[in-house]
């Protein structure tokens, strides 16, 4: 797995906050760096890949760990 430059804990947050926080964290990274995000909100789980695609970032990996969904997103 690619080393994440930053880990964002968005567990327990409801829409739209997981994506809002992810975007903010992403803005602070450099191009090519990877952000790891942990999410529990069902809606956000579907929105995260759609957001990444719409904003040109690459969703490298997505795993499920019980109720927690983890995303690794590489900054464009």
């Amino acid at each position: 797995m690619m080393e994440a430059a930053k880990v964002l804990d968005a567990k327990g947050l409801a829409c739209p906050m997981p994506v809002v926080r992810t975007k903010k964290a992403m803005d602070e990274l450099h191009s090519g760096e990877v952000l790891e995000v942990h999410v529990t909100d069902k809606g956000a789980m579907n929105d995260m890949p759609a957001w990444a695609k719409a904003s040109g970032h690459e969703l490298i990996e997505q795993t499920e760990d019980g109720a927690v969904q983890k995303f690794w997103i590489k900054k464009n």
Binding site: P16, M17, V20, K23, G43, D47, A50, W51, S55
Partner: protein
């Protein structure tokens, strides 16, 4: 100016009245394409909230300036977030749908569809967000509920306000598109209520029930409103219709206003085609054409009249419903077994829940029921949603 809120009930009244309303749906586009708010007066556009995090400027030109705009999302959080931004951008009449599509999907709107000569009434509970129809028959302080949704509080509150005792609870068949509230409602009421299910649909159920069979009529209230079950298989092997007071035909998922039931949701399309044909083209054909058909679903807002009710006479359906005009058996077989629309969301799991084999929590139940009902076969090129 500040953001205002709209409840599902307020939205339901607008949809039923055909009022003009502009909706901005901010869910992701897959969800929007799958399922959205519909209505005669509804103009709806989709822009996911995550495309608006930098601001709403690029969207502003697509939005009307001089009328209310309702923002909608899955649960109500993102629509508020975007709604606030629109208010900040100078829009003056911005509303957010409280509870989002989740609340919309669970809202039931009772519509009185009949008053009986000798007292009593029939109410259709319209689940606008999902296209499900359930019924309450009321007579003399007693009530019967047919095809109850899982929102059983709605029926209980309705009965309580009118001092009614719910005595009979029926499911016309084992549902595959939504979680039945029939058994839960019977349990909540206690020993005074009886839950009926067609035995042929109940072979795998894990709970006790009263068999719903032809020949065992039920009488509701002193004024004796007669409820007569008619075995009408095809959507499921047990599907049973009701004739109420010799005037109303509750068809379950066999016959709808603009379409007919699909035979494939229990995985037995080929085996059940002949039953479906027999029910529609023989059993129903022999009934009085004056009967008013009250189905368990609708797929299009065009099936709803100006009062919010979904019904039509059997005679009218034999003239207009395309599913009843297919005289060649082979054409009929192809129509109901080939090129069927996608099945309802999680339909296999929903059947398991309705059999009592699987007991999901409320969040999981909501998740399973997402999306339209998709219980109908529409002839020709009709779209399902």
């Amino acid at each position: 100016m500040s953001l205002k809120r709209m409840t599902s009930q307020e939205l339901a009244h607008k949809v039923i009245n055909g009022d003009r309303l502009f909706i901005l749906d901010v869910r992701n586009t897959d969800e929007f394409d799958h399922w959205r708010i519909e209505g005669k007066g509804i103009e709806i556009i989709n822009e996911p909230y995550f495309n608006l995090l930098e601001g709403v400027d690029h969207l502003a030109k697509s939005l009307p300036k001089d009328e209310p705009i309702l923002t909608v999302c899955a649960k109500g959080g993102s629509s508020e977030f975007i709604g606030e931004q629109l208010v900040d951008a100078g829009f003056e009449q911005i509303y957010s749908l409280e509870g989002g599509m989740k609340a919309w999907s669970e809202h039931l709107e009772p519509v009185k569809i009949a008053s009986f000569d000798h007292g009593g009434a029939l109410y259709q509970f319209v689940r606008l967000g999902k296209g499900c129809l359930s019924y309450m028959l009321v007579s003399d302080g007693q009530a019967a509920v047919i095809d109850a949704t899982r929102m059983i509080d709605v029926y209980q509150d309705f009965a309580k306000k009118r001092s009614l005792t719910i005595k009979y609870i029926f499911d016309t068949h084992l549902h595959a598109d939504h979680i039945s509230g029939g058994r839960a409602l019977a349990e909540a009421i206690g020993a005074s209520a009886t839950y009926y299910l067609p035995p042929k649909d109940a072979e795998e159920v894990t709970y006790s029930y009263e068999p719903l069979v032809e020949g065992h009529n039920v009488v509701v209230g002193q004024s004796k409103i007669n409820v007569q079950p008619i075995y009408s298989p095809g959507h499921t092997i047990g599907s049973t219709s009701f004739v109420i007071d010799d005037k109303y035909l509750l068809t379950g998922d066999i016959l709808f206003v603009e379409s007919i039931g699909r035979p494939d949701l229990a995985g037995k399309a080929e085996a059940w085609v002949a039953d479906l044909r027999e029910t529609l083209y023989n059993t129903y054909q022999q009934l009085s054409k004056e009967l008013i058909v009250c189905p368990a679903h609708f797929s299009h807002m065009s099936e709803m009249d100006g009062t919010g009710a979904v019904k039509a006479t059997l005679g009218e359906l034999f003239k207009k419903n395309e599913g009843l005009q297919v005289h060649d058996e082979e054409t009929f077989r192809k129509m109901v077994t080939e090129n069927l629309p996608p099945q309802p969301n999680a339909y296999m799991d929903i059947r398991q829940v309705n059999m009592g084999k699987h007991k999901p929590n409320i969040e999981q139940q909501r998740e399973m029921e997402m999306g339209p009902n998709r219980c109908a076969v529409h002839y020709k090129l009709r779209r399902m949603e």
